[in-house]
């Protein structure tokens, strides 16, 4: 008979320095029978663009030479797949602020709901790839782990059109995910609290039937959505109560105010994935409208304005360009911390967590100063259960007439010649084992995925 340990009852101070999978004999029977690790996907998002001409690696389908900005990743080069030549086609002729439309389309691959009709807000036009995958991958206690998400018009993650997902706060996420909510180890108390929770949710579900008076069809749909989510939550809470499968580092990295928190977030996500709390995550490294807390050298008090000014601005353009390179390189340093962490964590199948994960580092813009959508930087880390062969540069650029980086008037259909974000998300879905996916978001921008990325 297997021992069941409530999900929230993590083994503390078990002598491990990293989260480790519990012995399979302690896992519930179902989990033991299935010795394969699930595939996980992580969207690691950078906002405000990069310094494009120093981001671009050289190499081919078998090799990779990292440029200055990516050099901090030299040690994990073999775990990377750099994808060059992705444009966000969705935004062409799309009205609105570049941040709104960039954030609202990056993960959805579909035009936002018309600004004038709805007056702003989280106007994403359909589900984002993270939520789509969360619905397709095996059910886990958490649908997805989304942290530090920008909100309102800057929202990136959507359950459906205009339905942004709420992010957990950077500060509160750890406690929320791993805190010992039961507040006790007494099995009788834990059992009673769990049963109480079940009764409470059942009664709330009941009360949905008693809402007084009629509502419009649109409002009924909102109430039904709430009801569906509540039933779904009930299922996930039951899963969560079934059993734990990992141990907590006795001294985990903790949240530090006004710091980048790279170690903390890398640890948190690696632990959550290793524990199979969820298979999907989104983390926004820097918000578009907030001055960065990472050790960036930028002059003036307004990072966003500084980005707009570009790498050759001001009275000392040499110094300015050097500051740009340093700032953009910081992201590679942080990404390296993540990759290293995922590599060091063992997975239930025996390999590392990175073997079964695909971490997608994507950027809302291409060139920061232009806030444009051409050649958006994409770096993948991990092998997604063997479906992605890493250590490669995949170049999807196509010949383009004229300079794509000029302003305004170049935003015509013809300027977008490269591969689409839609095909990128199709390929990411296929890397997760969903071989039936041939289209994502705007179907007219999907053609079955990026050739050669998966398989």
């Amino acid at each position: 008979m297997s021992v069941k340990i409530p999900r929230r009852h993590f083994l503390r101070g078990a002598g491990a320095v990293l989260p480790i999978p519990l012995l399979t004999s302690l896992l519930p029977k179902g989990a033991r029978a299935q010795a394969m690790a699930p595939r996980r996907v992580m969207f690691w998002l950078q906002d405000n663009g990069t310094l494009r001409d120093e981001f671009t690696p050289t190499g081919d389908g078998n090799s990779l030479n990292l440029p200055y900005i990516l050099q901090p990743l030299e040690g994990v080069k073999g775990d990377l797949t750099v994808v060059r030549g992705i444009d966000n086609h969705v935004i062409w002729n799309h009205q609105g602020n570049a941040h709104d439309i960039g954030n609202g389309t990056l993960l959805t691959g579909i035009a936002r709901t018309d600004f004038a009709a709805v007056g702003g807000g989280a106007n994403g036009g359909g589900p984002s790839i993270d939520q789509y995958l969360a619905g397709r991958l095996p059910t886990a206690p958490r649908r997805s782990i989304n942290i530090n998400l920008p909100s309102g018009t800057f929202a990136v993650s959507y359950q459906g059109a205009q339905q942004a997902t709420t992010g957990m706060s950077l500060n509160g996420a750890f406690q929320d995910l791993f805190g010992n909510f039961m507040g006790t180890t007494d099995p009788a108390v834990i059992a009673r609290r769990r049963l109480t929770r079940e009764s409470v949710i059942d009664a709330v579900l009941d009360n949905f039937r008693h809402v007084n008076g009629r509502v419009s069809a649109a409002d009924k749909a909102k109430l039904d959505h709430h009801l569906t989510l509540l039933r779904d939550l009930e299922t996930r809470l039951a899963l969560e109560a079934q059993g734990s499968s990992c141990a907590l580092d006795p001294n985990p990295p903790t949240y530090q105010p006004n710091r980048p928190n790279t170690e903390y977030t890398a640890y948190l996500y690696a632990l959550a994935f290793a524990c199979q709390l969820s298979h999907v995550g989104v983390y926004m490294v820097n918000a578009p409208n907030v001055d960065p807390v990472f050790p960036v050298r930028f002059t003036g008090g307004d990072y966003h304005q500084w980005i707009h000014q570009g790498p050759d601005y001001g009275l000392d353009p040499v110094r300015r360009r050097e500051d740009w390179r340093t700032s953009m390189r910081w992201f590679a340093t942080a990404f390296n911390t993540w990759v290293q962490r995922f590599k060091a964590v063992p997975d239930v199948s025996g390999g590392s967590l990175l073997d079964n994960t695909l971490i997608v580092w994507a950027n809302v813009f291409g060139m920061g100063s232009y806030h444009d959508f051409f050649e958006v930087p994409v770096v993948l880390a991990g092998r997604a259960g063997g479906s992605v062969r890493s250590g490669r540069l995949l170049d999807y650029r196509r010949a383009r007439a004229g300079n794509p980086t000029v302003f305004g008037p170049s935003y015509n259909r013809q300027a977008f010649v490269n591969e689409t974000t839609n095909n990128l998300w199709v390929s990411v879905s296929r890397a997760m084992g969903l071989s039936d996916v041939t289209s994502f978001g705007d179907a007219s921008l999907s053609s079955g995925g990026l050739p050669g990325l998966v398989g």
Binding site: Q95, I101, G121, T196, S199, N212, G301, Y313, S369
Partner: protein
């Protein structure tokens, strides 16, 4: 959302501005005539029956949630303070379109209810009419709690089905091994706090016989909740629920009486600040960091003192029964020692120094609408354009070069922005609607300190409002503020903003007739309270288009 063929005023203004934006991208070269937004104010139409308007479901906002649980459970932990509360230029945080649920929110409601209930049962003697009853009285006690706490939480007496469900959960949990009365009471409270009856505001109304178009009148209880959430930001008190259930909230006179009763309460001041801090975009202050070298006077303490001063002024103006003009022209202040160096006053001054009057000249508003290192005539002009004149200015299209030319020598902000507003510039058609208004406030720096020089050159604070009935040139903030205070367009915009907030949605073409009627009902020299009454007694507030 919009019926085909119907273009409401908001939409029309947006379309006009979009045409302007085409000019911004340079596709229309040398646009012949300046394109300006439609004037909002037109002569009020002859009174006629207005079409009924929709009343979509709203949700308690995070702030309302916190205020309600503070009210009902005397729990001031503000559990929802970190929950996202979206707002935009045309939508307040209570907008029906914001209603959106996801797993993180549900988990919040779940864990928040567990926390609130766990704390509440430890204080049950204080909170509820009965506590720790003998076993035979337990269910009777729960019944009493549902009649009091439950009634206020659901804003009506619970129906039989709801009572059955709640008593059911009490019995189930009470029967668990080792469970106490308090455990079971806690479960009941948790259910109430997660029920749709608590979290959502629905208004079905009852059909009005003989109406020209299918119309429903909100029930008295629905009116009570709408009134209370608008004016107080929390659920109705017992007196309001009693009035509604006893048939004393039926006529417009009843509604006016209750509106004025609620306005007289200290809670109304808080409720107003909930509206006004969004309307005046004071939340920006939370995000703004000022560059410490440029603005050494700016500290977190100054920032909160500035916000407190502006909120005190706005709250006092409202509570004191003054009118819209006073918001823009009155000089009362409670600025304490923290703001004295910025205002150049003695600590304890009760009047603003010369050159300052009303909201637009106060440190909080000026600092919130400025860059970290410098002023922003664009941000200041845009806020006045959108918030005080209710016109839409769409953001620049993607890919547009928003960079000002590189600095080549000393220049004032105004000089650097000239490129925005030179005829023929791609920025001209949009920025002329904003920057020239903001130029009038250049006599204050990025944290609202008065200045005569900018970057070593004398400040020029002549400004202009382009388009609309408030159009014209002016010099300096006092003239600008006075012009806005006297402007029918700005007064109408204030009414519109209040209406958006009270209704929890943005107006469409159908609402215009109601807004006209509300405007006509205002007495000369109307107070801010009169504006509130004009809205709550309007047919748009009390009726809705009938559900099919």
């Amino acid at each position: 959302m919009h019926l085909p063929g119907i273009i409401d005023p908001l939409m029309r203004r947006a379309l006009v501005t979009m045409c302007v934006l085409v000019g911004c991208t340079g596709r229309i070269q040398g646009s012949p005539e300046p394109v300006v937004p439609d004037p909002i104010v037109e002569p009020p139409e002859t009174p006629r029956e207005c079409r009924p308007v929709p009343a979509p479901m709203r949700a308690l906002t995070p702030r309302q949630y916190d205020d309600v649980v503070a009210d009902l459970l005397q729990d001031t932990s503000r559990p929802a303070r970190d929950l996202e509360a979206p707002s935009s230029e045309t939508r307040f945080d209570n907008h029906a379109e914001w209603v959106s649920m996801d797993e993180v929110r549900l988990r919040f409601y779940l864990s928040s209810a567990e926390g609130l209930a766990t704390r509440a049962v430890t204080r049950q003697a204080m909170l509820f009419p009965c506590a720790a009853p003998p076993q035979a009285q337990e269910e009777a006690c729960i019944g009493q709690i549902l009649d009091t706490f439950g009634r206020r939480a659901f804003r009506r007496t619970l129906n039989a089905d709801e009572r059955t469900t709640l008593l059911g959960v009490f019995r189930t949990v009470r029967a668990l091994s080792g469970a106490t009365y308090s455990d079971a009471l806690s479960a009941v409270l948790q259910v109430v706090l997660q029920s749709p009856q608590f979290l959502y505001v629905t208004e079905a109304g009852v059909p009005v016989a003989g109406a020209a178009r299918p119309t429903s009148r909100l029930t008295a209880l629905e009116v009570a909740t709408k009134l209370s959430l608008y004016l107080w930001g929390t659920v109705p008190d017992v007196a309001l629920l009693d009035a509604a259930e006893a048939g004393r909230l039926e006529t417009k006179a009843d509604v006016e009486r209750e509106t004025r009763r609620l306005l007289a309460s200290p809670k109304a001041r808080e409720g107003y600040l909930h509206f006004a801090s969004q309307w005046l975009e004071l939340e920006h202050l939370d995000d703004v960091t000022k560059h410490p070298t440029t603005f050494p006077l700016w500290t977190p303490a100054v920032s909160s003192a500035a916000r407190a001063e502006l909120e005190a002024f706005v709250g006092d103006t409202y509570a004191g029964g003054r009118g819209y003009g006073a918001l823009l022209t009155a000089r009362d202040t409670t600025a304490g020692a923290a703001l004295a160096p910025l205002y150049g006053t003695q600590a304890g001054a009760t009047t603003l120094p010369d050159g300052r009057a009303g909201v637009l000249t106060r440190v909080a508003w000026l600092a919130a609408h400025a860059h970290p290192e410098a002023t922003s005539p664009t941000l200041r002009g845009k806020s006045i354009r959108t918030r005080l004149l209710c016109e839409e200015v769409l953001p620049p299209p993607p890919g547009v070069n928003v960079m000002l030319p590189n600095v080549t020598g000393p220049a004032t902000i105004r000089q650097r922005l000239q490129v925005h507003i030179e005829a023929g510039s791609s920025c001209f058609s949009c920025h002329r609607l904003m920057d020239p208004i903001g130029f009038g406030l250049e006599g204050y720096d990025g944290i609202g300190v008065a200045r005569a020089m900018d970057n070593g050159l004398p400040v020029d604070d002549r400004g202009e409002i382009v388009g609309g009935s408030t159009a014209g040139t002016f010099t300096g903030p006092i003239e600008l503020s006075q012009r806005l205070a006297d402007s029918p367009e700005a007064n109408r915009c204030y009414l519109t903003q209040v209406y958006r907030y009270a209704q929890g949605r943005t107006e469409t073409s159908k609402d215009r007739c109601h807004l006209d009627a509300a405007q006509r009902s205002l007495p000369a020299g109307a107070s801010l309270h009169d504006v509130a009454v004009a809205v709550t007694t309007s047919d748009a507030f009390l009726n809705r288009e009938a559900l099919p």
